[in-house]
């Protein structure tokens, strides 16, 4: 038997005490592991959110929003400088226009209704309201008004964030044209396709040009499903607006850099553009997660500290209890190092056994605790945020926060065991210090 075997055997001298210590350590380690799982899962979610949501900067011509306002379009030359700014990963550009019955043979899938008539009046298009209509914006004119069909020329056809309707792009048939295409091709919204009996391969007329449908998409909302999307170069050519851009979206590498990129874009484009970003709303959405991350970090450190204190006090108790035995061992030739090694081995044995229970508890409780923390925190944040209105694009983020799932892989188990060993060594090393203070003559005084 060597010093290590003796240390391990000593851990089981008092079985009831050993069992109690292991259970207490197990609870401490389990809590530490659950907090580590929560911390990592929440951290990954924050990184994911920060790199995918709210990390965009929107650019519009100064004074213009969609088809409202006025001013002059931006140019590709102006935006080329933006593309070169630090932290800019990509730049989506679009040129939008509205096709009226004089520009296209397409019929809108949206009926005018009173809103359409009001908006048409406000936008200066002529129409005559139905009998009895006398609402705000009436300017008089034709009675055959139908809402126009929006056409968007873009270099990122699957990103509907560049369009007024938004939504999630889902190709239901055909294919998407290349971002750099110059062909007279289009993908059309599903409602517009149904209204005009369009299928992949069908053609329609716009700007007196025959355009071929290469794909049909569903955006999940009526407005976007009434749109036509064409290549940016095609739209610039057909609408006779070469190099013009009416909307651009700058994609930034991380939400943390959005503010600095916004400033840089404003500086680059000057008074020619209105530059906005949604970082603040995204930060608000992930604030609960950051709170959880902080709580889980402190809880993790607290649980590890508690484990270290437990093992330290246990080892102090054991050393005091075996003071006479330590004196005997020293008297028969054991060095301080040998005795310390024996006690550290005993502490490691207890801690590793506690860790096995702790890992089991961590595996079982890690995800439920993470979900509990996230659900409580996000529901509190949502309740608190209702009075201040909402930001549509981030509603989905908030609801998605609850779908956090911690993965307990080998790395977490490895970190858990490593933390346990550190706890054991730190906890027992101080106790071992007392061992070195025990003089072998103690054994004679106790006689």
């Amino acid at each position: 038997m060597n010093v290590l075997t003796r240390g391990m055997r000593n851990a089981f001298r008092n079985q009831i005490r050993t069992f109690s210590i292991i259970v207490i350590l197990g609870l401490s380690m389990g809590l530490a592991l659950a907090m580590l799982v929560a911390h990592q899962a929440v951290g990954q979610k924050i990184n994911s959110v920060e790199s995918s949501v709210g990390n965009t900067v929107s650019i519009s011509p100064a004074g213009s929003r969609g088809f409202e306002g006025g001013g002059n379009p931006l140019t590709e030359t102006q935006l080329a400088a933006v593309q070169k700014l630090a932290h800019v990963t990509s730049l989506d550009e679009s040129l939008s226009d509205r096709l009226t019955t004089s520009d296209t043979n397409l019929q809108s899938a949206i009926t005018a209704g009173s809103l359409g008539q009001r908006f048409a009046g406000n936008s200066g298009q002529t129409f005559t309201p139905p009998a009895g209509f006398s609402g705000r914006g009436y300017q008089g004119g034709s009675t055959t008004f139908t809402p126009p069909v929006t056409v968007v020329g873009t270099n990122d056809p699957t990103n509907l964030a560049n369009t007024q309707g938004g939504g999630t792009f889902k190709l239901t048939s055909g294919q998407v044209f290349l971002p750099t295409s110059t062909e007279n091709v289009a993908i059309v919204g599903s409602d517009l396709a149904t209204k005009n009996n369009l299928k992949v391969g069908s053609t329609f007329t716009a700007y007196s040009t025959t355009i071929t449908v290469v794909g049909i998409f569903d955006a999940g909302n009526t407005f976007s499903n009434n749109q036509v999307i064409v290549p940016l170069a095609t739209e610039q050519k057909l609408s006779a607006q070469p190099g013009d851009i009416t909307s651009a979206t700058v994609n930034v590498d991380s939400i943390t850099n959005v503010d600095s990129v916004t400033t840089a874009v404003q500086k680059s484009l000057g008074s020619a553009a209105d530059v906005t970003n949604g970082a603040q709303q995204a930060q608000t959405a992930i604030a609960p997660l950051k709170n959880i991350q902080t709580i889980s970090l402190y809880s993790l450190l607290g649980a590890i500290a508690a484990g270290a204190v437990i093992i330290f006090l246990v080892m102090v108790m054991i050393v005091r209890e075996r003071r006479k035995e330590i004196g005997v061992l020293k008297a028969i030739g054991a060095s301080n190092l040998k005795i310390m090694t024996q006690f550290v081995t005993e502490a490691i044995t207890l801690t590793v056994l506690g860790s096995i229970i702790g890992i089991g508890l961590g595996v079982v409780a890690g995800n439920p605790i993470t979900r509990l923390l996230v659900n409580n925190s996000t529901s509190t944040a949502t309740t608190a945020g209702r009075g201040g209105g909402g930001f549509r694009a981030f509603g989905g983020v908030r609801s998605g926060l609850a779908n956090i799932h911690g993965v307990i892989g080998y790395s977490i188990i490895f970190y858990g065991l490593a933390a346990a060993i550190v706890i054991a060594i730190v906890g027992s090393s101080l106790a071992s210090f007392f061992i070195s203070k025990v003089r072998p003559a103690e054994v004679m005084r106790a006689e």
Binding site: M1, N2, V3, R6, R9, N10, R13, K324, E325, G327, V328, L329, K330, A331, I332, G333, A334, S335, K338, R439, P440, A441, V443, M444, R445, E447
Partner: protein
């Protein structure tokens, strides 16, 4: 030869100083069986601690052979205790979760004796002190007081020490078992040519040793 010269040990108790060992000088030739007698508090156990290098004297010298153990550093003292001295205690002080055999092997492990050799020697020593085979694998809790003291004697002999120090080795035993243990120690001092110094209250036992030192208030007042 064990030679003690002008040995003093002072303990501080609050503001007062207690002279536990007061200027003691004596010598014990190799292979002799000596006893130290005296009342409680006379300094017997303190003297034994100093002789066994378990404690450091305030002044004076202890020569074991040609080596002054009061001048040894801590690391050398550990080695000295492990190889040159064997201890026997009144309450045996065996490690409770080790078997009798493992207890005897322990000092040899500290002296880095190979496992097989220490196993063989431990068994031989236990045979020598009369502990039967089946009891050699028992833990101390399942041995009688006399058997535990035999194991303690075997452990003290493990590294073939020059000097064995015994603190009341028969103090916890009945008179018959005590006599057996005393006879065993006396026999060992002759057969192994080992110097044995024992502290005892029992004047009849002390009378059978080669040398008797009587202590009173830390002073050596009589020797035979």
């Amino acid at each position: 030869m064990l030679q003690v010269t002008e040995l003093k040990k002072v303990f501080k108790s609050g503001d007062t100083k207690v002279l536990a060992v007061d200027d003691i000088s004596f010598s014990v030739p190799d292979g002799q069986f000596a006893s130290i007698i005296g009342r409680s508090g006379s300094g017997k156990s303190t003297l034994l601690s100093l002789l066994g290098a378990l404690d450091k004297p305030t002044s004076g010298h202890i020569m074991v052979g040609d080596k002054d153990i009061t001048k040894l550093r801590d690391h050398a003292l550990i080695s000295y205790r492990g190889s040159k001295i064997g201890f026997i205690f009144q309450s045996y002080n065996l490690v409770p979760n080790l078997t009798a055999l493992e207890n005897v092997m322990l000092p040899m492990e500290f002296a880095k004796v190979p496992k097989k050799k220490r196993q063989e020697r431990a068994k031989k020593l236990l045979d020598q002190v009369g502990l039967k085979d089946d009891k050699q694998k028992r833990k101390p809790g399942r041995l009688s007081g006399g058997e535990q003291q035999r194991v303690a004697i075997a452990r003290a002999l493990a590294n073939k020490p020059q000097l064995i120090l015994a603190d009341e080795p028969t103090g916890n035993l009945d008179s018959q078992t005590g006599k057996m243990i005393f006879d065993l120690l006396q026999d060992l001092s002759r057969t192994e040519h080992t110097t044995i110094i024992t502290v005892t209250h029992d004047v009849s036992i002390a009378g059978k040793t080669d040398v008797v030192f009587k202590l009173q208030d830390g002073k050596l007042i009589k020797d035979k």
